[in-house]
Amino acid sequence: MEQKQLFNSAYTPKDGVYDEFVSKEMKVRQHYDALSEQFSQYTTQDYCKFNEEAKIVFFNEGITFAVYSDNPLGSEKIFPFDFIPRIIAHDEWTKIEKGILQRNHAINEFLKDLYHDKKILKDGVVPKELIYSSANMLSVMEGFNPLGGIYNHISGTDLIRHSDGEYYVLEDNVRCPSGVSYVLANRNTLKKTFPKLFSKCQPQPIIDYPEKLLTMLQSVSPGNSAPNCVVLSPGMYNSAYFEHCFLAQSMGVELVEGRDLFVKSDVVYMKTIHGSRRVHVIYRRIDDPFLDPLLFNPDSVLGTPGLMSAYLAGNVTLVNAPGTGVADDKAVYAYMPEIIKYYLGEEQIIKNVPTYRCGIDSDLKYVLENVDKLVIKPVDESGGYGISIGNTLTKEQINEVKLQIQQNRRKYIAQPIMSLSVHPTFIEGENIIESRHIDLRTFCLLGKNIEYVLPGGLTRVALKRGNLIVNSSQGGGSKDTWVI
């Protein structure tokens, strides 16, 4: 077999993981052909040049994120960017898009039900303890009907591709998912770097996302004409402040903080130099507990007093609705296949990571025999508490976990340890191209008669060798994502 030099150095795929770029036989996957051809013409110097150029664009445009730390000099960093785009074939994307819409529609129905009749709990499909132990269930939302019946206007569904080549949903984010500004910035940067490759591949455009977002916000406005939409940010110390500014600016709406708003007679106004101006829709990037000091955290200075009563009076729409967090809980995730079936009568299109419920005899047997290959999670705790990862445990710990499970079977679920797919990535310093683990955060909009999934999304890449954590706070970077 002819060994073709793919990049400036030998590119070796890893065993046991799915490589997005080449097959096991080292054959470039068809949708990467154009990219491979172009890249084979580049030298190490070219790669370094692309990397530098991208960095300069990011620096000049101030595309940053902040890491929470005590550093008095500030903690804003340039978002690491890898110039080799991740490409998703059209057919594959069509399925992903459908799956994401299905999932987020089901989550919306689920939230509607939880805050009204609770049929899914009464029918015993989802255990009631799981919902009521969640700190994110907001009783103040009970019986309230958000405009257009939408709770999760903006959802960020995280996908991975396992070693079997299939996509799996890793988690749902229906509170304030962030990252979309980097998708747009990455595209902008890469367009300047590889104009020829662009016109050859013609990836689906994403440039109209801010427009779609604004249209969605306007669709859920309580006012009928020319609604005033704003982006509510906790301020410049938030890790996603760049994104708040970016989205407000690109939608052409005001960026506000809690102190810029006030409530009078259950109506929200913003202070301007021309006097007060009514606000109809708030795309809030503040978590529930900080929205309104009168209702939630009285010490919070981020929110606006009276905001929740204005919302409940129907005079302003909050995007996303308060109380959505109950649906993106780890424990609820395990029930997503049932939730989709219950509300939509459909099988899930994108798979959940398989989940074993220890309350079921056959599942329990498997779990007890295979603790070392599984992740064990309690169903009634969120935020990663009480999770045991099988392959990191000692023999004694494994026995302890087994005992815990047997003592309270219904409390535990188990999932296989998933492996993330890999993608060629430029390694700064060594100036070579190696495979690194990636995931994909997708962005989905639901409005009144509006549904939209951003083609592609944010591909996050773990820049440290062997690291599975792709989060930017842990030294991860991102790639442009093309759907062709």
Binding site: K122, G124, S265, L294, S309, A313
Partner: protein, 286 residues
């Protein structure tokens, strides 16, 4: 039909000027079935805007106030007239015991009432552990209301009504050791015990028409409402060992005291609140 004139006055003083305040008052009577609420008057000594909101719950009127001027002392005076239908709490409509137990055990009942049944350490004011509540006897037989009354009498009997030993932040787990307190302490203790026995119970605040030997009449009062199949939410006062009748004028209910604060809000000032006094007056109009 009874008619009452309700009056609430409060004075909040600050050591240095307050530049802005956004306050919420829960002092307006609950729009209960058959009640007529007339001519509310809200007055405050500092310039500002105020309005009534029913957004959170249509029966509850929250009065909001936003100051437009600086101040050191805030004087609030509120009055309202209310007609209350006569209520005989001894008219009982309980289901037969067996039927009642079936309702109480049903998934439907537990899910619909979960908000007021479940105990959580994240709301510690009315939280008691099963061990703490084991010292109080819960009857095995009889109707739910009888069991609740039996428990109420134990709470009343074990507690001493004394003002000044507890504050608004005292927890039920402290009250159960102290065995002293005022109406909200009696209520938190009773709530913790009820919830440990699976009863849907909620904290209720309101006005109490004064008669002799009734405690808690010059302040806002607190009692418990329990959800009983067929009967609905029944008011029970552990402080006065009574079932609530037309002398109890409810304002609102919640999980515990924190949901029923008469005054809450945000104040922009460099100083802490120096003093705060509340007065309540309930007068029956013949």
């Amino acid at each position: 039909m009874r008619q009452y004139q309700l009056e609430y006055t409060a004075t909040n003083a600050y050591a240095s000027p307050v530049w802005g305040a956004y306050l919420k008052f829960l002092i307006h009577p609950y729009a209960a079935l058959g009640a007529q609420i007339n001519s509310p008057v809200f007055s405050i000594n500092v310039d500002g805007d105020w309005w009534i909101s029913n957004a959170r719950q249509k029966e509850v009127s929250e009065i909001y106030y936003k100051s437009t001027n600086k101040f050191n002392t805030l004087n609030i005076a509120y009055s309202v007239k209310i007609y209350v239908p006569d209520l005989n709490p001894f008219e009982r409509l309980s289901l037969p015991v067996g039927q009642e137990i079936n309702v109480l055990k049903s998934n439907e009942w537990i899910i619909d009432n979960y908000k007021f049944i479940h105990l959580t350490k994240s709301r510690p004011k009315a939280y008691l552990s099963p061990e703490e509540s084991a010292n109080f006897l819960w009857l095995n037989e009889g109707n739910l209301l009888d069991k609740i009354i039996h428990l109420r009498d134990q709470v009343h009997g074990s507690m001493e009504f004394i003002t000044g030993v507890t504050t608004t932040s005292t927890l039920a787990s402290e009250v159960i050791k102290l065995r002293q307190g005022v109406c909200q302490d009696f209520t938190h203790l009773f709530l913790g015990l009820l919830r440990n026995n699976g009863v849907a119970a909620r904290y209720t605040s309101g006005y109490l028409h004064q008669s002799e030997a009734i405690r808690g009449a010059s302040q806002l009062h607190a009692w418990v409402e329990c959800h009983i199949p067929e009967m609905g939410w029944i008011g029970i006062d552990p402080t006065n060992k009574l079932l609530c009748d037309h002398n109890y004028v409810k304002i609102c209910h919640g999980y515990d005291y924190d949901d029923c604060l008469p005054v809450s809000g945000v104040v922009n000032s460099s100083a802490n609140q120096q003093s705060s006094e509340h007065q309540v007056h309930v007068q029956q109009i013949q």
